[in-house]
Symmetry: C2
Subunit: 343 residues, 2 copies
DNA sequence: ATGCTCTGCTAAATCAGTTTAGCGACGTAG
DNA sequence: CTACGTCGCTAAACTGATTTAGCAGAGCAT
């Protein structure tokens, strides 16, 4: 890989100057007294030789590598990871940085290994990302340098900068959307889950979304008609919860699903029951999973702003001296699954 | 990030030996005549100081970084990328390597930039990945060192090692599955697409899948009842193609979909038409997208072995001196969408 | 006593940059 | 005429590892 690359010494020789001069010119150092002509000669030589500095040599001296570690529990392999990584990649490129990506798979030994591998390579900072928005314990090893938590917070005393989706506001928007269409006392919700709501190490989203929904409804004097519990946020549980909903005497006019996979299950149950969306029932949800746009009708949902979040993490890491959480808004994708309640 | 790390000189000093001795012991060099006691002392000192070598310094000398570049067109951000990266990450870790990931977004300038950034960092090799299985032009810059193409081939004369899913065999398995259930002359297919089938720079999968299906059916004297064309392999096109299928006089007993997203569209159309799967019609497909397991009934599909592929790419890069393509089998996920044709 | 080999170890060069300290020439002020 | 400052540039140290070349001492044969 890249043998015969020109070195700084080659550039200096061709320019008829010292390595020092060449280095200073190429780094655009202020306050050197090198002549305009010297600048010219160095640039010309570098250009001619196609010179590119050796990052290893440079970082040996400077302790900077223009490399960021992106460590995640398991995020890199999930659908959600894509956006996070893409956003981080874009922001990193804009700042001439590069991403070293690892996954811990939630395994302490792997995590230890991954972090050491990153630190051995002198990364300039670490982005520590979680798949599910949650609170997590930060491995002490990375606290020696800049760290940003992505889709996660840390126990309060650390006050690390972190990037989170604004789930509470999203909950409010979802509720507002239904209220605006005239839904009132027949709004159901599926996806309640005690574990997710009470244990911040499992999820921060559940509680925040619920809080946003409830407070917004409450402001108009509305309370939820039913709240369906689900052991996981998967289609099959959305399906089961929706069937339970339909067995009740009062049929809801709208269903809020805690995420799109539940909503997918709801669509299946409603389809089987011969009910149409949004004619008989409106459905609205969270995440903007790709299936949301594939469903018929398209599912209205508050999108997890993954790209924005990944981008923000890099920005905070490199530019900022931020402390505490930075919330990224979740835009509402309006599709066809919400309408006014039937007669 | 990681200041005050112990250096090799620190270890040597504590062990009462020279840097040379320490280096040799820690690298397990054969044929040195260092005493057993010297080994002990070095190991003890390294342990005590928590010594970890500085990769930048080492690679400056050795020109090895234990780092692999993973460059993709756009793969890193898609659902499919997850498995590819995960497999590569696992295999890399097993060999004590780390992955530098970039995305070119199909943009030549970005690609140029990404590759230079990787080479500047002295990566030991490059994995060049494509989102859609296809043939691509390899940027000359990376040909200086080891390269493996992932989910892609290169124009023949290069003979680069590459990793591809075995789509033809998958097509055969899909056809065999239907034949085994007794389907014969009412097998339909949706997802024909002239562009994908004829331009290897767009897709290699379409043509291979089709070839596997056709030759297997032909061996039993069967030909496809209908072949539905789709401008893209998206749910809406699967939906439209399936509706067209149902408008024909002879209703198919089974539908082969060129991928799972088309199959999702087919499910939607069949559901609307009041047809049940697999009672009225069997459906079978390719990819094993997550939705395949979410559908009701679960969709039988030939899985893209992303993790295996990512893993194989790293193995070929580091261990092998392979030439040409390496095919990874696509396992058939048998779910409930296939049954014997109705009476 | 001399020369030779073998053992156990080390000094110093090297990789490719950055950075510190300072040198010689020239101009100007006293 | 000398002292001093500025200009334009460079030698050499430094980063932390690997690797080459070779040294000192012990043991043995001649």
């Amino acid at each position: 890989m890249g043998r015969n690359r020109a070195t700084l010494a080659d550039v200096a020789r061709l320019a008829g100057l010292s390595k020092t001069a060449a280095s200073m010119v190429l780094n655009g150092r202020e306050g050197t007294r090198l002549s305009a002509e010297a600048h010219q000669r160095v640039f010309a030589a570098a250009e001619e030789l196609g010179y590119r500095p050796n990052v290893a040599a440079r970082s040996l001296r400077t302790r900077k590598t223009a490399t960021i570690a992106f460590v995640s529990d398991i995020v890199a392999t999930t659908r959600f990871a894509g956006g996070l990584i893409r956003g981080a990649l874009d922001a990193a490129r804009e700042r001439d940085h590069v991403l070293l990506i690892t996954e811990t798979q939630g395994d302490a030994a792997f995590e230890q290994y991954a972090i050491e591998a990153m630190l051995d390579r002198q990364v300039d900072g670490v982005i520590y990302a979680a798949m599910a928005t949650r609170r997590l314990a930060v491995p002490p090893a990375i606290l020696g340098g800049p760290v940003v938590l992505l889709n996660a917070t840390s126990p309060v005393q650390l006050q690390l900068p972190c990037v989170l989706p604004d789930d509470e506001r999203a909950g409010a928007m979802v509720a507002e959307t239904l209220l605006a269409q005239g839904h009132r006392d027949r709004i159901a919700l599926i996806g309640r889950n005690r574990q997710k709501e009470s244990d911040p190490e499992i999820s921060l989203a559940a509680e925040a979304r619920l809080r946003g929904i409830r407070s917004t409804l409450a402001a108009t004097g509305v309370t939820l008609l039913v709240e369906g519990f689900c052991p996981e946020w998967l289609p099959e549980h959305g399906y089961a919860a929706t069937r339970r909903l339909l067995d009740r005497p009062t049929r809801p006019s709208a269903i809020i699903c805690m995420n799109d996979r539940l909503a997918f299950g709801a669509y299946q149950a409603l389809g089987e029951a011969g009910l149409t969306i949004p004619g008989d029932l409106s459905v609205i949800s969270f995440d903007d999973d790709p299936i949301a746009s594939w469903l018929r009708p398209g599912l209205s949902t508050a999108a997890l702003p993954h790209e924005q979040m990944g981008r923000r993490a890099v920005e905070l890491l490199l530019d900022g001296d931020a402390v505490g959480p930075s919330f990224v808004p979740m835009p509402l994708r309006r599709r066809r699954s919400v309408a006014a309640p039937a007669g």
